[in-house]
């Protein structure tokens, strides 16, 4: 586990303390602890079913934790008198009434939280939904359009905090770049963003901090640079068996894999010497930047897709 760097001086906008939740006798979130600070984008990364959505629901007061505490802006979300003006939430872009027009969906929420109707039009424009799209019923929207509507909805109350569940789902590459820019700007103005994703690349591209969750537990968390700067060396050879034997002889720890590059817990020079001593010709030798993170994430994903792997 990668240690988190905790800045006790900074304000805490979102905080999960030992959050635990059982659903149907299964523990879906277990002892999840993290915090998000102003001016940062935190990526909440994990395979589907890892407990991301359940955690976000507890933060938003939609589900009650069985253990631990979820705090937003220093208190319980439920105790915020008009939460829409402080916390923007997008838990599922598909969750809009199909028979309602896009603009009306925003106007209803604007009315609820006391936001002038003019802001609805401004936001529709900002997220790239033109007047024709705003008049259409949400049932006719593509997932990408729903995400844009959902982002507009989250930004409606001019919040300080954004909690977004899989906001990039259904966006095309151009849409993703646009969203990254939007979130970056929000954080640079002092806002706090917590967004979840099941895609490593997506989070890597935008997050300052990352929390990796698998099987309901936090597997790693820290700043993006900390998590990406894992030590080790990636090494690859045509003669895989010879390479493995050489590394073993040198007493180096090798993370198993079937074919392809090996991740070795040693500096490149040490690995190169071991290969040289073993008479193995290398095809690739490189410091393993982020490879550890990728491997961890890959293992989590593999576990979640194959809950019962074949015996050893």
């Amino acid at each position: 586990m990668v240690a988190a760097r905790v800045e006790s001086e900074a304000a805490v906008m979102i905080e999960a303390q030992h959050l635990t939740k059982q659903l149907g006798g299964r523990t879906v979130v277990s002892d999840v602890t993290f915090r998000c600070e102003p001016g940062t984008i935190t990526g909440f990364l994990g395979p589907n079913g890892a407990g991301k959505t359940t955690t976000l629901r507890m933060l938003a007061g939609l589900a009650e934790p069985d253990g631990g505490e979820a705090r937003v802006l220093g208190g319980r979300y439920r105790d915020l008198p008009n939460p829409g003006r402080r916390v923007g939430i997008l838990l599922d872009a598909a969750a809009q009434h199909d028979g309602r027009r896009g603009r009306e969906a925003l106007a209803l929420s604007a009315r609820t939280m006391g936001v002038p109707a003019a802001r609805v039009d401004a936001l529709l424009e900002r997220v790239g939904l033109d007047a024709a799209a705003a008049r259409r019923r949400v049932g006719q929207y593509s997932l990408g359009m729903r995400q844009r509507l959902g982002l507009a909805h989250a930004l409606l109350g001019e919040p300080e905090v954004l909690i977004l569940d899989e906001p990039a789902n259904g966006l095309d590459p151009e849409g993703m770049r646009w969203m990254r820019g939007l979130l970056r700007g929000f954080a640079d103005r002092g806002g706090t963003v917590l967004l979840s994703s099941h895609l490593l690349a997506e989070v890597e591209a935008v997050a300052d901090r990352m929390i990796i969750i698998g099987g309901g537990r936090i597997q790693a968390q820290g700043s993006r640079d900390e998590l990406l700067a894992t030590t080790g060396t990636l090494v690859e050879a045509a003669d895989v068996a010879g390479l493995d034997a050489a590394l073993r002889r040198a007493g180096l720890a090798v993370h198993p894999g079937d074919g392809g590059p090996r991740l070795v817990d040693a500096e490149p020079e040490v690995v190169a010497r071991a290969a040289f001593d073993g008479g193995v010709v290398l095809q690739r030798l490189a410091p393993a930047e982020g490879a550890g993170l990728e491997r961890l994430f890959f293992e989590l994903t593999a576990e979640s897709t194959h809950p019962e792997p074949a015996g050893v």
Binding site: E9, A11, L62, R71, L73, P81, G99, L108, S109, T112
Partner: protein
């Protein structure tokens, strides 16, 4: 890791105690307005209200164009003319609740208003206001029809005032029963089936001689029908009370408890 150490230090969270201005809790009146708007701002919701008004006009017209003139009294036409509203309003009431789950907007609604009882109260008030508005339109069409068909006959308007007052209980009770069923079931189709099939099943059972004359006390189809036909006696009012307690108040309590307690997972 220094996580443990920082736990003991007070959290420095910039949370103003400001609960005024834009951070003030939305008032109940505003929430009722939003819920009313939700009833008619979807395609299905809008056309259902239009259908209620049009069907009422058709039913009133047919009633006045058929049968003999002696039956064209306000009371006779009213008991027919309120049927479309009596059937369709509870459906709108169910959908006002269940669409939040079937269309998954409950996540938005309860994220904006985390005090769930306030949302429930706003929905009940909105349902009642809509029922009163539709009732007013229906009564107006009945009155206009009767005026046009048989304005002068003796006894045409007898009991009109009382019947209108009683129709508020009839329509309002039906509407809230619909909302209550929606709250208990939280799914459109099963709630609709329950609303229309359960009373029939229960009235079939209680009509068995074994139950003696308990039927009018528990069967809303027996207890509420007289509201549109005659001036109720004290005993009849008591029957309205017990049957509505069973079909309206009890499901409302169960439904409110359910919404307050369960996680909003849709």
């Amino acid at each position: 890791m220094s996580t443990i150490a920082t736990r003991t230090a007070p959290l420095v969270a910039p949370v103003p105690a400001d609960t005024t201005g834009v951070h003030a809790r939305p008032g109940l009146g505003r929430l009722v307005g939003v819920e009313l708007r939700k009833i008619v701002d979807t395609r299905a919701g809008f056309w259902m209200q239009v259908a209620t008004v049009v069907l009422t006009a058709i039913v009133v017209a047919v009633r006045l164009l058929t049968g003999d003139a002696a039956q064209h009294t306000f009371a006779e036409v009213l008991s027919v003319g309120l049927k479309p509203a009596a059937v369709l309003l509870p459906v709108a009431g169910i959908l006002l609740v269940t669409s939040e789950w079937s269309q998954r907007t409950a996540m938005i609604t309860f994220a904006l208003v985390p005090q769930r009882s306030r949302v429930v109260a706003a929905k009940l008030a909105a349902a009642l206001l809509l029922a009163l508005a539709v009732l007013a339109v229906s009564i107006a069409s009945v009155a206009a029809g009767v005026l046009a068909a048989a304005p002068g006959a003796d006894g045409t308007w007898s009991g009109a005032g009382t019947l209108i007052a009683q129709s508020v209980v009839y329509i309002g009770g039906g509407m809230l029963t619909g909302v209550a069923f929606g709250m208990v079931v939280l799914a459109s189709a099963p709630a609709l089936v329950a609303l229309f099939a359960l009373p029939i099943a229960v009235s079939g059972i209680v009509s068995l001689s074994f139950f003696g004359d308990v039927a009018p006390w528990v069967d809303t189809r027996l207890s509420l029908a007289p509201l549109l036909e005659e001036v109720l006696s004290g005993r009849q009012w008591a029957q309205v009370g017990t049957s509505l307690a069973l079909w309206m108040v009890l499901p409302l309590l169960i439904g409110a408890w359910r919404i307050a307690r369960r996680a909003i997972v849709v």
